[in-house]
């Protein structure tokens, strides 16, 4: 077991290395750099620019060095907790994104829980009541959720939340609680504001998950041991829950790997619409103004988060299912 975990852990390293190269080249690709944008902006507003200062800044941040040197210093810095410097906010990146990343993580985590809580019972119902009216309507609802663009759903739900429940619009908490220490009131406010983003981000993933658990459970229900259990007179609920359900649980956990990137993606877009204080709005701003270290470290962080999430799901799966522990990979 320990060997498996260690192996999986080291398999992460090349993945992250490739990801860092990819992200760095994407960030480097646009012509010009932040200083050019900055100078152009200053000139447009009629201010004079001291070329020496710009030259100094360039040197300070290593923009006179070749690309590969900058790449290595970026990666080297990241392994030491130095994520570079945001030119726009004139603060270290780590200061800027710490709390936002926490909120992104929290949001993703709650969304996964939501997806599970919704998909579990519906998936089981759909599988045991195959082709029934309920099965069809759940499938249809799920498909609608899949087909509606997330951002629009967020917008419309925000409106109705305001009209029906009086929730303040936008943000992850009421404005009064910003910069306040954690309290029950703040917690409640955050929980209240979390409902819409979680539901909106969750809809797409839930539909896919219901379909998958239904298919898996259906396969399982056809097997002989289920028939035996039924023939012996086991009550229907127990028949389903005792073994077939446990089998399909594996797929649930294995699925985290595939839905986590989607959830983080969805969280970004929804966050922009709802102006949540997560990574989304900051990322898009950084991308537009070529604040490259901020954008790069952000993307890298999201990649690390997802890879770790997948790792955790793999390990959990290995604990749950001895076959994977022994064979080294999940059965599909």
């Amino acid at each position: 077991m320990l060997r498996y975990i260690i192996f999986r852990f080291f398999a992460m390293v090349p993945t992250l290395l490739i990801a860092s190269v990819l992200i760095f080249s994407i960030i480097e690709l646009p012509p010009g750099d932040y200083f050019e944008t900055y100078v152009a902006e200053l000139q447009a507003s009629g201010e004079t620019v001291d070329p020496q200062k710009i030259e100094y800044l360039r040197k300070e941040y290593g923009f006179d060095k070749p690309v590969w040197q900058r790449y290595f210093s970026w990666v080297w810095g990241m392994t030491h907790g130095d994520f570079g410097y945001s030119f726009e906010y004139e603060r270290p990146v780590s200061e800027l994104i710490g709390s936002r990343l926490m909120l992104t993580m929290l949001l993703s985590f709650v969304t996964i829980i939501f997806t599970w809580v919704v998909a579990f019972p519906i998936g089981i119902y759909s599988a045991t009541h195959k082709y029934s009216f309920g099965d069809y309507s759940f499938t249809f609802l799920g498909l609608i959720g899949l087909a509606t663009p997330n951002f629009l759903l967020a917008l419309v739900m925000m409106y109705f939340a305001k009209v029906w429940f009086g929730t303040s619009i936008g943000g992850l908490m009421d404005p009064v609680y910003i910069d306040q220490p954690m309290s029950w009131g703040k917690f409640g406010s955050i929980a209240e504001h979390m409902i819409i983003p979680v539901v909106v981000i969750g809809t797409a993933g839930t539909a896919a998950m219901i379909r998958r658990i239904r298919a898996n459970l259906l396969d399982e229900l056809k097997k002989q041991y289920v028939i035996t259990a039924r023939a012996k007179g086991l009550p229907p609920t127990r028949t389903v829950l005792k073994y077939p359900f446990r089998m399909s649980l594996n797929f649930f956990i294995a699925d985290i790997g595939s839905i986590l990137p989607n959830i983080v993606s969805g969280a970004e877009v929804v966050a922009i619409v709802l102006s949540l204080e997560t990574t989304g709005p900051l990322l898009i701003r950084a991308l537009k103004s070529q604040d490259m270290y901020l954008a790069g470290s952000f993307l890298m962080f999201l990649a690390v988060l997802t890879v770790i999430g997948v790792l955790i799901s793999d390990i959990a799966l290995a604990i749950l299912d001895p076959r994977i522990r022994l064979q080294g990979k999940p059965e599909k």
Binding site: L143, T148, F151, L152, N262, V264
Partner: protein, 392 residues
Amino acid sequence: MNDSSLPRPGKPLGHYVSTAEFDPYSIEQLTPEQEKYFFASQRQLIWWKFKKHRVAYWSALILLFFYVVIAFAEFIAPYELTRRHQDSIYAPPQGVHFFKDGEFVGPFVYQRVRTLDMDLLKRKYAANEAKTYRVGFFCDGDEYKLWGLIPSSKHLFCIRDGGTLFLLGTDRLGRDLFSRIIYGARISLTIGLIGVAVSFILGISIGGLAGYYGGWVDNIVQRMIEVLQSIPSIPLWLALAAIMPVTWSPLLVYFGITIILGLLDWTGMARAVRSKLLSLREEDYVMAAQLMGARPSRIIARHLIPGFMSHLIASATITIPTMILGETALSFLGLGLRPPVTSWGVLLNEAQNISVVVLYPWLILPVVPVIVVILAFNFMGDGLRDAADPYQ
């Protein structure tokens, strides 16, 4: 055959050939239906199976309808894409009526009267039931050039005598939303196709290489796919879209976006191709081709790919909705297509504000065709995937 032709006892039997026609299949006679089924080409089998899948079949018809509409967008849209009606800014949808005073008179609309509410600073539109305008068919309206070539001014339907016909209302510049949705469909529906074509080519060639050669090529490709799948796609799209210079012409941006969508989407396709190839390359007919001196590219393209092409096409169909949604999201966030190019995402960009939802709810109507198209592609993809394996 009668008794006299039999030899006498003790003599050998003479050589006899029956003159009756010989039918080797006489024992297992096929009914016409069976015959039709057994001798059908693969394409026919797929078609029959697909037709049986009612939902998929109807979805395909709906999609076909959409594509016919975008082919003749100029003719079907009642107004030109950029035609502005200064008197009807933010006008709500107009209802089309058929009966007047309990009598059928054909489609018509009531006159619109605009008043300004000075308290709310809002334009108000009311119907004046005294004055009606007939809706005509195949009549003259805004001039256009069909496919940029054929000048014409005929429209499928338009309003007579200088009235207005805004089936889905107008936007902040007084442009007809219905016409803009039709023109926008042109971009939104083709972007998915081109994007899928890009990812299809990438997926087949990269997955093909990995699957055929195996070994370290396979390893590198596998890692690449893993990385691409583990990074959340929308932030990556955003980053790539931000690269495109602002100075690019709208057409270049359009192609840029399709390529970005395709660039990140090939992974699933490559995986499918790879796993199929890994199992198929052990087949005897591949060995035969190798012995005859065929090159890898020929073996992959001539002998291996056709074996699961139909399956690939089916799975490609399922990824089209992701592309359409991706374009919509990018344009909505202002990093995708920009006006004057009109796509569904660009139209929805106007509805970005919550005040729009409250004051001008019809501006979020472009989401309806988005949902319909995505559902239709999903159902059709499901049906195609089932049908692609007609013997199952």
